[in-house]
Symmetry: C2
Subunit: 234 residues, 2 copies
């Protein structure tokens, strides 16, 4: 790698030390592209400035800039992630050191670079951890709602199934009404069977929880008086 004369911002001894890792770029050069699979490389921006570009609804937008000295793209090296942004040089020139995992020892031996990577990793850790806390909160909330829906959905469907099955046994119902009431039950069974398999068992004729759930609804004082006959008949 031959460094042009004007790139004198990095001492020549350092350039020599890092010559196997050193890359020289000019304005508008792309370091990597959003969505590209992780290539296991991390960059140390040694001189110059880069822009971080992201696709925002089909339009590329520069969301941030990073100036030397800084670390770029470490999450791809560490986690094997695809590139989450495009990095492009926005200064006249830029010098980057490109490191793979087994090159990290070069970082350890330079206190300033160690500090930079440690601080970056701590920051990454905080970001990932915050996201996890956020996701856990959302998950806990939806899990609670889902559990509630499942529990009470089962109760109400099974109780309605039981009631609709057993109204017909009441002597006041004639065959015409029986058909209507059976049809309501059949509609519920059909729909649940097709779209709510979680509740399929509790709307079947073999379900044994219907009566208990009806008792439960009575205990909660939510059962209209006329339907208490049905419980009484058991």
């Amino acid at each position: 790698m031959i460094i042009p004369e004007e790139s004198d911002s990095v001492p020549i001894e350092e350039q020599k030390k890092y010559e196997n890792y050193l890359f020289y770029f000019t304005r508008n050069s792309e370091i990597f592209h959003e969505g590209q699979p992780g290539d296991g490389c991390m960059y140390l921006l040694r001189s110059g400035e880069v822009g971080i570009f992201r696709d925002v609804g089909g339009q590329e937008e520069m969301t941030a800039t990073v100036s030397a000295v800084n670390i770029i793209g470490e999450m791809s090296l560490l986690m094997g992630w695809d590139r989450t942004a495009t990095i492009r040089v926005i200064s006249n020139t830029a010098i980057l050191y490109k490191f793979r995992y087994f090159d990290l020892n070069i970082i350890y031996s330079t206190a300033a670079y160690s500090e930079m990577l440690i601080k970056r990793l701590i920051n990454d850790l905080k970001i990932v951890n915050d996201r996890m806390v956020e996701t856990n909160t959302k998950y806990g909330l939806i899990d609670e709602q889902y559990t509630n829906l499942m529990k009470h959905g089962k109760i109400v469907f099974s109780a309605m199934n039981y009631v609709l099955e057993n109204i017909a046994n009441d002597s006041v119902i004639n065959s015409k009404e029986w058909h209507y009431i059976s049809a309501v039950r059949e509609m519920m069974q059909n729909y649940v069977g097709e779209y709510l398999p979680e509740f399929k068992e509790v709307v079947s004729s073999n379900d044994e929880t219907g009566f208990q759930n009806l008792k439960r609804i009575e205990n909660d004082q939510l059962l209209p008086g006329i339907l208490k006959n049905i419980i009484g008949k058991k």
Copy 2:
């Protein structure tokens, strides 16, 4: 801090360099305790061995051991986490350096310690990231199930509400049957109102989606023939 004669595993110059951070422990000393609030300290185990103890169903169990040289408890310093385990010395003696956030520069200047902390941070990052991926997967799954329950629960409840309200309008039903059918609807409304507020609106008399949802059920060929009269009447 006076280091006893036998602790000669750490060179005296190093002991002097770290004297403000150095702590000497004997067997069974507890470094920190599970559940204790994060005290913002990280430890470098410089000599000796410690056990990691966790409460497993009320019984303390040693789940791992850590030998010098190693870093312990960095997540409390970095993330402010409570201590997730109890650390106790299991060798005759142990020397630990205790660092706060602003002491990290001591780590940067020693390549071996930088390497240790960077590798530890990368590992922490992987663990937290794996957990996030796992939680996201669980979240996505339950979100899908919840969305399905909400969608189809609304349809079936609102259609049943509509049917039960409108069967009564059919001339074949006499007042006795009307009471039964109304009571089934009332029970559904009562129960949903109390335990399934997500569906409260669709089982009210003002709900306008009942008829559309009944049509939808008919289109899905899930509607018993006798109930088609009700749609016909609209």
